[in-house]
């Protein structure tokens, strides 16, 4: 059958189904294949905290959204153009997010009374007119998959499990994507289960050819490769990039990498990734709890490792006291906080930026640490290197903030040449001549003297230290001196980090600031508003403690500052407190990233108000 092929510049697709339907896998395959086809890609996995919530219910719905484009993009897309709904519950949950007129591909075989009841649909949404504004395509996914696999010898249950590959094959056909990368992936993944591999391949192919043969689709689409800078690319998730950054930092510092960690969503995949890299000498220690994880990392740091602990908000709360010990002992330590919805257990699988104040102030006493944040999945690689550089150069704990959104999201990554990454070799103290454990270099860093070095025996600890000797000291003046010295050491780092850069239209009245994972949505919003003839500037913070040296100067240039955050305004609070500058906190606390349109609307409302006033 001859089909038309239409070119599109960008598409947003969402796969949705039961948490056991394999939607994360399907989405990952689709986005990886799109990246391989040269598109710019940005993804947003969105899954429930339950591993297998009851089948057919709305709270068991797992989704994976991806945005692929022939130009540079920064977000996983505001509203899907296409929804693949494997069951009624997934339609019900996702319908409100779709673009007007969006295409909805439903697995018609799951639209029965039993499933309507499970997700509390009172009537069949395909028949009651509630989808009249959409282009609905009813595909017998379950039945066609069963038909394709009727000779496979697999149980009906196993056959049904292949239907996501049928859906994936169909989507590959619609968007003119090659199926070979996924076939290769299936062969590798199910190496030990050849019958499952064969079934999944058949389902994938059947889905692809179904598109070709059915009359349901008259048009195929094509999204041309994006014009990305020249180089070798791969698709990478934030946590993976973060882990590879740490391994690279280990090579570049010449220190063995030590990770003490306790499994916690959404940080666990860093532990998984690093536990693979034994050939780089990486020591991963899955501790008995969060406190042991960070404490062991402090021990490893004392002994000369590039020491890291990874966690999320609740785990960071547990590590609080130990981070104070690292401040007092002035040992390098990287504490990664992949933020999630809080407080308490909160929303484990959803994103938030609500640990900034915990990172800044969540310790007893005056206990400053360096705080840096990553803004995109690929930025996680660079921030890992920077965290290692600052921790080892200044002998300080560094709190490295990311969030569930960039941790699980993926995008194409232009792989850096390892030789182009600067060396940051660390030198331990070895000369016992006049050794003093709390003497200072020009950066106020004390010497790193590791156990096993003759003549450098010394004791560290949480009790206040006398400067230079490091002996326990209770003198009032010494305590004040040391508190100020530790603060000054962190503050001085402002001389060693890049200034805050202003993008968009710098010569405007309105500045949009942010930090972390809001970068994509803010960038798109600012770009769009500027395209429409308005003038808006943007500045994004990587360094949150200390702030870049020119922060106040930048902020004072603008009449109006908007700060979108996925919290109740924590960066706004810090900046207002520090510089006494008015900032409009634009906040959203729904466990979901900002849509760029939300920020765009906010900017326009501010601009409109200024013009009217």
């Amino acid at each position: 059958m001859k089909k038309n092929i239409r070119e599109l510049s960008e598409v947003t697709v969402r796969f949705a189904g039961d948490s056991g339907d394999g939607m994360q896998l399907t989405g990952t395959q689709f986005s990886n294949t799109s990246a391989l086809a040269g598109n710019d890609v940005s993804t947003l996995p969105d899954y429930p905290a339950e591993i297998r919530a009851p089948i057919g219910t709305t709270y068991g719905v797992s989704g994976f959204q991806m945005h692929f484009s022939s130009s540079d993009i920064h977000t996983p897309g505001d509203a899907p153009d296409v929804l693949v709904a494997m069951n009624p519950a997934s339609l019900k949950v996702n319908l409100k997010d779709l673009k007007p007129g969006a295409t909805i591909i439903v697995n018609i075989n799951s639209f029965d009374e039993k499933n309507f009841k499970l997700c509390h649909y009172e009537s069949n949404p395909l028949k009651d007119g509630s989808l009249s504004g959409y282009h609905v395509v009813e595909v017998p996914l379950t039945k066609m998959t069963a038909e394709a696999l009727k000779d496979s010898g697999l149980s009906p249950k196993d056959v049904a499990r292949s239907k996501n590959f049928f859906a994936l094959g169909l989507m590959y056909w619609i968007y003119s994507r090659p199926i070979e990368p996924t076939i290769k992936w299936i062969e590798d993944k199910f190496k030990k289960k050849p019958e499952i591999a064969s079934a999944n391949k058949k389902a994938l192919e059947a889905g692809y050819y179904f598109g070709d043969n059915t009359t349901l689709f008259s048009t195929r689409y094509k999204v041309n490769p994006a014009k990305l800078p020249k180089g070798t690319y791969r698709s990478i998730e934030g946590n993976e990039a973060l882990a590879l950054g740490l391994v690279t930092a280990s090579v570049k510092t010449g220190l063995p990498l030590y990770l003490g960690s306790y499994p916690i969503t959404p940080a666990s995949t860093i532990l998984h990734e690093l536990s693979k890299h034994k050939k780089f000498g990486v020591r991963t220690f899955q501790a008995e709890d969060e406190i042991a994880a960070v404490s062991s990392a402090i021990g490893a740091s004392f002994t000369g490792a590039l020491a890291v602990t990874t966690t999320s908000g609740p785990g960071l709360a547990l590590k609080t006291e130990a981070v104070g010990l690292a401040v007092m002992t002035e040992l390098p330590l990287i504490i990664v906080d992949v933020q999630r919805g809080g407080p308490s257990t909160g929303l484990p699988t959803k994103t938030e930026q609500s640990d900034l104040l915990q990172a800044m102030y969540g310790r007893s006493g005056e206990a400053p640490v360096v705080i840096i944040s990553a803004s995109t999945p690929t930025d996680c690689f660079d921030v890992s290197l920077e965290a290692a550089r600052l921790a080892t150069k200044y002998m300080v704990p560094v709190l490295y903030m990311t969030d569930g959104y960039i941790a699980n999201g993926s995008e194409p990554w232009k792989i850096p040449e390892p030789d182009s990454i600067p060396e940051m070799k660390v030198k331990f103290k070895t000369d016992p001549e006049k050794f003093q454990p709390y003497s200072r270099d020009e950066n106020l860093a004390r010497p790193w003297a590791v156990p096993g070095t003759p003549g450098l025996e010394h004791r560290l600890g949480g009790l206040e230290k006398e400067n230079l000797t490091g002996n326990v000291n209770y003198d009032p003046e010494n305590h004040e001196y040391m508190v100020r010295l530790r603060a000054e050491k962190v503050k001085n780092i402002e001389n060693d980090i890049p200034e805050l850069k202003v993008e968009g239209s710098p010569d405007s009245d309105v500045l949009v600031i942010g930090w972390g994972g809001t970068y994509g949505a803010i960038t798109d919003a600012v770009h769009n508003v500027n395209e429409q003839g308005y003038k808006v500037a943007q500045a994004h913070f990587r360094y949150l403690n200390p702030f870049p040296k020119n922060t106040e100067e930048v902020l004072r240039k603008y009449k109006y500052i908007i700060c979108p955050e996925i919290n109740m305004g924590q960066l706004s609070f810090l900046l207002k407190g520090r510089f006494l500058i008015e900032i409009d906190p634009f906040t959203k606390i729904q466990g979901q990233p900002f849509k760029s349109s939300e920020i765009e609307d906010k900017i326009k409302a501010v601009l409109g108000g200024m013009n009217n006033g």
Partner: protein, 344 residues
């Protein structure tokens, strides 16, 4: 199995391990005795001074590292075993010791203690058990006896105590011993043996707090009573005690009984022969229970001593095995792995 430590001809003296810091424990504290024995043993283990690391938590006992002229860290409450674990993993060549107390290791740090034992990480954990919170000035501890009157239990503690050796054996520690601060020669020998052990070595030291819990171990240290109240365990020897070595222990099924060696009914041949290396932990566990019964003597010595690979040995072996199989990691291969594509 010898510990994986560089052993050379090292001529050190006890005073080489004494730091410049004034010792600030209360005069008469049992901690002085433990410090003295450790400083005596340290030069005898054939370990270079710079390879000793002492880690502690919080409490009176945890001031210990300040008084040793070795590498050390006075950590945070309960976390010494966790900090020490990171030290030992990072450099298995080091001889890593933990000084801790009953509150530090069995209350706030209980989790780290049992998991260190379970993993068989190569730490020597010396638990100063004075059955009281000393540094916070006299509250009952997790080893205080039920009914104990303290500042926080004016009507008597209603907590049942932990039995530290039982907890260590239940957590699969591979070297478990007990000694007493007032038995310096015995204490020294236990420390020496712990120092030679390659997995987790645990010594519970009965330590007198003469300020808040004076006399807690009086019957075990008093000249008049100690030979009848203390059973000194020796490997491969019958369990004999009493002033004239006139009493012994027999194991009747699972029940230990005291028998007389002078009434003609029992001889040395009938007695329980102590086997430190017994692969089953059950008999060692029975020994830990002696202290709970008044009619049985309190054992000191090595309850259990078995060999199995330590955590750090396995961890580094895995790294070696992977490197042997796949070669050392190269950044270029790592970063350019997975599905890559070119943009021209």
């Amino acid at each position: 199995m010898a510990d994986n430590i560089t052993i050379e001809e090292v001529k050190l003296k006890p005073k080489d391990f004494s730091s410049s810091q004034d010792v600030r424990w209360c005069p008469g504290c049992g901690d002085y005795s433990i410090l003295a024995q450790i400083q005596r043993v340290s030069p005898e283990l054939g370990i270079k001074k710079e390879n000793y690391v002492w880690i502690s938590g919080i409490g009176c006992s945890s001031r210990f590292p300040y008084y040793m002229d070795t590498f050390g860290m006075h950590g945070i409450h309960g976390r010494a075993a966790a900090i020490a674990t990171g030290v030992k993993i990072q450099n298995p060549e080091l001889s890593v010791w933990v000084a801790t107390g009953d509150g530090d290791s069995l209350s706030i740090g209980g989790n780290h203690f049992i998991h260190a034992c379970r993993r068989n990480i190569g730490l020597k954990i010396i638990l100063f058990n004075n059955r009281i919170y000393g540094l916070t000035k006299g509250q009952y501890s997790p080893t205080s006896e039920k009914g104990k009157i303290t500042k926080s239990s004016p009507y008597g503690s209603i907590d049942y105590p932990f039995n530290p050796t039982a907890l260590a054996i239940g957590s699969d520690a591979t070297f478990v011993a007990r000694s007493i601060d007032r038995h310096p020669a015995h204490l020294k020998e236990m420390i020496r043996r712990a120092g030679k052990h390659s997995g987790t070595a645990f010594i519970e030291v009965y330590q007198n707090c003469n300020i808040f819990n004076d006399g807690a171990y009086f019957p075990l240290t008093d000249k008049e009573t100690k030979s009848d109240t203390v059973l000194i365990l020796e490997h491969d020897k019958p369990m004999v005690f009493g002033k004239e070595n006139n009493k012994g222990i027999i194991l009747d099924g699972f029940t230990p009984r005291v028998v007389s060696l002078t009434d003609g009914k029992h001889s040395l041949d009938d007695l329980w022969i102590h086997d430190e290396h017994d692969t089953h932990a059950s008999r060692a566990h029975i020994l830990t229970q002696f202290a709970e019964f008044e009619h049985l003597p309190t054992p000191i010595g090595v309850f259990r001593h078995i060999d199995k690979p330590s955590y750090e040995q396995d961890l580094h072996q895995q790294i070696k095995d992977v490197i042997k199989k796949e070669g050392e990691g190269k950044l270029k291969d790592l970063l350019f792995s997975g599905n890559t594509w070119e943009v021209n």
